[in-house]
């Protein structure tokens, strides 16, 4: 049963409560900011899920996902056996001849694009409903004040804060800067909700969490000679300043 306790109107009120002055946004701006926060949340956490049966045609290793799904997260056989996720590149490197190989059941899946996946090996005969895809639903869009948000209360605050940060963008300067920690909290909450995100190297690099390479650089690493050279150049600069 979906959550239905918080409405769009409630979220707008929460946003207003976080601002101790006359608000600088309109109702429409608040709605758009809240929808943006929900979209980002779904992108980073895949919060709204759906399940669909996939038909596999004989020998075909590429399968389209249904239009209701934004992207696939997990594939299993009809009997519930999970397929291991990988990427096309890894499949090509490990099994160059994987395309078109048939056996039952499939063991590995890889996303080709958001709406298409590849499986290895594929079924040798047409197999209606041969696979089950768990994927992420399109993010619900809030339009009317009475529309409810299908999220738990623990996330509502994070969404409202993020929406405030989005709305404050137009203000620029200190007012917008003051909301930057809300964005950081939002990202932290998303990483907590989606452990895969926190572990992923690409995300860690984006978030500045992978410090090992910075701390142990393999090129242009500072050394003692460089320190001495820096001191000399500073002395030279000081001497020049004194002369002037």
């Amino acid at each position: 049963m979906p959550y239905s306790s918080t409405t769009l109107a409630d979220l707008k009120v929460v946003m207003v409560q976080r601002w101790d002055q006359v608000v600088f946004w309109t109702d429409e701006e608040a709605r758009l900011a809240l929808n943006e926060a929900l979209r980002e949340w779904n992108l980073l956490t895949g919060r709204w899920r759906t399940r669909a049966l996939l038909n596999v045609s004989a020998g075909n290793h590429e399968i389209d996902l249904p239009a209701s799904m934004t992207y696939g997260m997990r594939i299993t056989t009809a009997a519930g056996q999970p397929l291991q996720p990988t990427s096309l590149l890894e499949l090509d490197l490990a099994l160059p001849q994987w395309r078109g190989q048939t056996a039952s059941p499939p063991l590995i899946w890889a996303p080709i694009s958001l709406t298409r996946v590849a499986v290895w090996p594929t079924y040798a005969v047409d197999t209606p409903n041969g696979l089950v895809a768990d994927g992420v639903l399109r993010t619900p869009v809030l339009v009317n004040d009475a529309d409810t948000v299908n999220l738990g209360d623990e996330i509502i605050d994070v969404i409202a804060d993020m929406a405030l940060h989005v709305a404050a963008f137009k203000e620029a300067g200190p007012r917008w800067r003051a909301t930057r920690p809300y964005f950081d909290t939002f990202l932290q909450a998303a990483a907590d909700e989606n452990g895969l995100l926190k572990q992923n190297q690409a995300y860690r690099r984006w978030a500045g969490l992978d410090r090992r390479r910075d701390l142990q650089p393999t090129k242009d690493a500072p050394n003692q000679m460089q320190g001495v050279a820096t001191q000399f150049s500073r002395h030279t600069a000081d001497a020049q300043t004194e002369t002037e």
Binding site: T26, E28, E29, L32, E36, R39, E40, N42, L43, L44, E62, T70, Y71, M73, P85, T86, S87, L88, E90, D92, P96, Q97, R99, G100, W109, A110, P111, I112, S113, L114, T115, R116, V136, R138, T139, V141, F169, K170, A172, W176, L196, L197, N200, A202, Y203, R205, W206
Partner: protein, 211 residues
Amino acid sequence: MIDRDLLSELQLVLIEPPDGGDTWPSGIWTRDEVLDAVNAGVRALVRDTHLVVTRVEVPVLAGATSIALPADWLATAYLVWRSVTGARNPLGPVDGFEGDLALPGWETHPGLPLGYVDLDAATLTLRLVPTPAESGTLEILYIQRPQEATAIAPGVQLPLADEFVSGVKYAALGWLLRKVGRLLDVERADYCDRRYQLTQTAAAIILGGWA
């Protein structure tokens, strides 16, 4: 999301009256300029992330030294060489220099293709390395040039799932706020670049199989 809705959203952010992107009374940006920014954002995102790929099969004759790419080609995602017997070989991206080092004479000594060169020859053509000794079929997964936003009423659907629209929004905003003019704002433009990169990173993780 409809392109006019996104333009209205940009107008609100840039403190212009929201009307689907029709008018920009501040005079800092023009309608065409904003549309260019949005379209550049869409193109950059689909090209950088390979969110949507299109499949096409191209028959190739033995000894072919130039193969025409589809007219709406934006980038190559994956290429597979399929021989007449049905055996498939994935092809890797290389350039002519790499071909010369790995397989000297790759143009004149045909063999089983191992790689492809799509940026060394004329535009919208590619070459196989080495030149194919036998006829076969190229299975091409490529990034199609996305439909451009025109913001003409009633508007058209953006060629991306809604979850990725923020990437386009912030790519466009970053470009607009970096314009040398009265509203130049490097701090917010840098922030916009980071938001675009966040969408790009999320797409890379999703399409990398979360591995």
